[in-house]
């Protein structure tokens, strides 16, 4: 078949639509001018400024801590939930669990954030925990919505897993707990890794929910960026955004490599 001009042009337009904004951001992060939209020369000074800014560095460290903890908690809870949904076909409340687990995927962030805030306030008033809002509350909030994504990823992998593998292990003398750690876990490991990476980036990304449940002195990186932009876009935000893009791209690349290693045949197809 002749390729013609149609496919290349639509592909170019598609990529432009997706990546032109990001490319312009990256380009302007190397702008020397103080004005974001006027190019005056190449410079890396904004990167220097970002990396010397204690507020940004503090927020980045906080975000990384939150994302790490939230992704790990979400991974454990999400995996348990996926195992329950896939492996135990019949139990009371299964349909309810399946529905409520995926609810955070479609729930507006504002509502999730607000309801969590109300819950934390009420809990503090009645049982005194968690006292105040900050790192802990953001971690809890992020774990809940990240869990939904982990469940989706792990569930689909578990469904593909031939149940007779687990039965074979049990037949050979492994107790159900052993079977899980010897057979199930290693086989679904790629899904666990990509689920964790997904949860990590989602947590790193979140502005709305974090804004609701954070307290004084616990501003995450997106919150800091947002507050800076409110005062007018400065070129150092471009530099910061470029660094974040770099990290996210690296994460996506890692996740893809892990998936391809696990399914070499699928990659070739």
């Amino acid at each position: 078949m002749r390729r013609g001009w149609f496919l290349p042009i639509t592909a170019t337009l598609g990529f432009a639509f997706l990546y032109a904004p990001i490319i312009s951001l990256v380009v302007f992060s190397f702008n020397e001018s103080d004005l974001v939209t006027v190019w005056s020369g190449f410079s890396t000074k904004w990167y220097g400024k970002v990396l010397a800014d204690p507020q940004i560095l503090g927020a980045a460290w906080l975000s990384a801590q939150i994302a790490f903890c939230a992704a790990s908690i979400a991974l454990v809870l999400g995996t348990l939930c996926a195992v329950a949904l896939v492996r135990f076909r019949k139990f009371r409340g299964r349909t309810l669990l399946a529905g409520t687990v995926s609810a955070p995927l479609v729930m507006p962030d504002v509502i999730t954030g607000l309801s969590l805030l109300l819950l934390f306030v009420a809990m503090e008033a009645t049982i005194g925990w968690p006292s105040g809002r900050g790192l802990l509350t953001i971690i809890i909030a992020h774990s809940t919505f990240c869990m939904a994504y982990v469940v989706v990823v792990v569930q689909s992998r578990l469904r593909d897993l031939d149940m007779s593998l687990e039965e074979a292990a049990m037949d050979l003398g492994a107790t159900p707990v052993r079977v899980f750690f010897d057979i199930t876990l290693p086989i679904i490991a790629p899904a666990l890794i990509s689920g964790w990476l997904l949860a990590f980036t989602l947590s790193l990304d979140d502005l709305v929910i974090a804004s609701f449940v954070s307290g004084p002195g616990s501003s995450t990186l997106p919150m800091v960026i947002f507050s800076k932009v409110k005062l007018g876009v400065s070129p150092d935000v471009n530099a910061l955004a470029t660094i974040i893009i770099g990290f996210v791209a690296l994460g996506v690349l890692l996740a893809t490599i892990v998936q391809l290693r696990a399914h070499p045949k699928r990659a070739k197809a």
Partner: protein, 382 residues
């Protein structure tokens, strides 16, 4: 054709009423919701037997096997293995191993690790595990493949790894779910032979589930034919083939001609059946549990009918009819004739091609006589 396990004379324990069964399934029923998968099955299997559960899909054979392995619990009834009640024992505590239809090899472990998995669970010393794995690899002729991963093996090699893994713990009872189902025809015949050899060498009791009747006939010491959750017949392959106890069994195993008839003479030593479909009487040379004027079926295998151009001498004015050769299927070793009777009934007859390229063979559109012996067919009342 595979040689049947040549067991000593006392190796037909099912013929000995005093013999103690090794596996005893008593009145086992399994329901999934409203669906009855296995219905009141009782079955005794003896030591060193190679017992085949044969049936179509949905006949309950796999469910029965899974209950023996412990993956399903019977709704009612008991399962005893080697004198111990195993009905509610967990699969990891049973002296039973299973070879899965999909082989279920652990994809993240190599061949050696797969085989060693069960031994490690038993906490055997490392040196003994290594020794045992080596023996098993030699047994299934895969000594050079120990460090391969399952996806680097062919279908036949995977099947052998699965067998070695299932045998590793020296189970008292080995369950095989369609062990040859995923192999191509040629490989299947070779593997069949090896499977029987290994079973003979180790003396392990095998229970094989299969839907392939040829496989069951050539492998088994005894066959249990299953239909809709019930055991339709238990017997040695020859019993099942030559003396089916019902229309279902006769039709399920091999090909068969079945005709309807009415009993006209019912004597202790013979029975005469009038069959309008055949256009002649059937003289059966033994007594049958039936009554005069009873409607019943009579089944005869295609190879038990003789074709001839000249009218053969009938027996007691029966067992001879005539028809026209409508179609011939030449299979090399034998030919399958389809003969149309005046009643419109078609009979399948097979004749061995003894003479090479016989120019005088019966051919299309010829009028032929069909005849059979007094005990060639089976009278079936159910």
């Amino acid at each position: 054709m595979v040689k049947k396990p040549q067991l000593a004379i006392d190796t037909r324990p099912w013929r000995d009423p005093a013999a103690k069964p090794f596996v005893r399934i008593k009145n086992v029923t399994k329901k999934f919701g409203d669906i009855i998968a296995v219905s009141d099955v009782s079955l005794d299997i003896y030591k060193s037997e190679l017992f085949c559960l044969l049936g179509g899909s949905g006949s309950g054979k796999s469910t029965l096997l899974r209950m023996l392995a412990g993956f399903e619990a019977p709704t009612s009834g008991t399962i005893e293995i080697d004198g111990q009640d195993m009905t509610h024992v967990a699969p990891y505590n049973r002296p039973v191993n299973m070879m899965f239809q999909s082989y279920a090899l652990f994809p993240h472990m190599n061949v050696e690790q797969n085989i060693a998995y069960g031994l490690k669970r038993d906490g055997l010393p490392r040196a003994e595990i290594a020794e045992r794995v080596r023996e098993l690899l030699a047994l299934v002729k895969l000594s050079d493949y120990g460090s391969r991963k399952p996806h680097q093996l062919s279908g036949g090699q995977r099947q052998r790894v699965a067998l070695a893994r299932a045998l590793a713990k020296r189970p008292k009872l080995l369950l095989l779910d369609e062990p040859l189902g995923a192999l191509d025809k040629k490989l299947r015949e070779e593997t069949q032979f090896e499977l029987v050899k290994i079973q003979e060498t180790l003396g392990v009791t095998f229970i094989v589930v299969t839907h392939d009747q040829e496989e069951a006939m050539s492998l088994a010491t005894r066959i249990g034919v299953m239909n809709q959750g019930e055991i339709a017949m238990i017997g040695e392959p020859t019993d099942i083939y030559e003396f089916p106890n019902s229309k279902f069994v006769a039709g399920f195993i091999g090909s068969v001609n079945m005709v309807d008839g009415v009993v006209t003479e019912d004597e202790p030593a013979h029975v005469r059946i009038r069959s309008d479909e055949l256009g002649c009487d059937i003289y059966v040379g033994h007594g049958v549990d039936c009554a005069p004027d009873q409607h019943l079926s009579w089944a005869i295998r295609p190879e038990k009918i003789v074709l001839s151009r000249e009218k053969p001498e009938g027996i007691h004015d029966a067992n001879v009819t005539r028809g026209m050769v409508e179609d011939i299927g030449y299979l090399g070793d034998m030919s399958v004739y389809q003969v149309l009777l005046p009643s419109g009934k078609r009979l399948r007859v097979t004749q061995t091609n003894v003479t090479r390229g016989n120019p005088d063979a019966i051919t299309w559109d010829e009028e032929v006589y069909l005849s059979w012996g007094v005990s060639a067919g089976s009278v079936l009342t159910v």
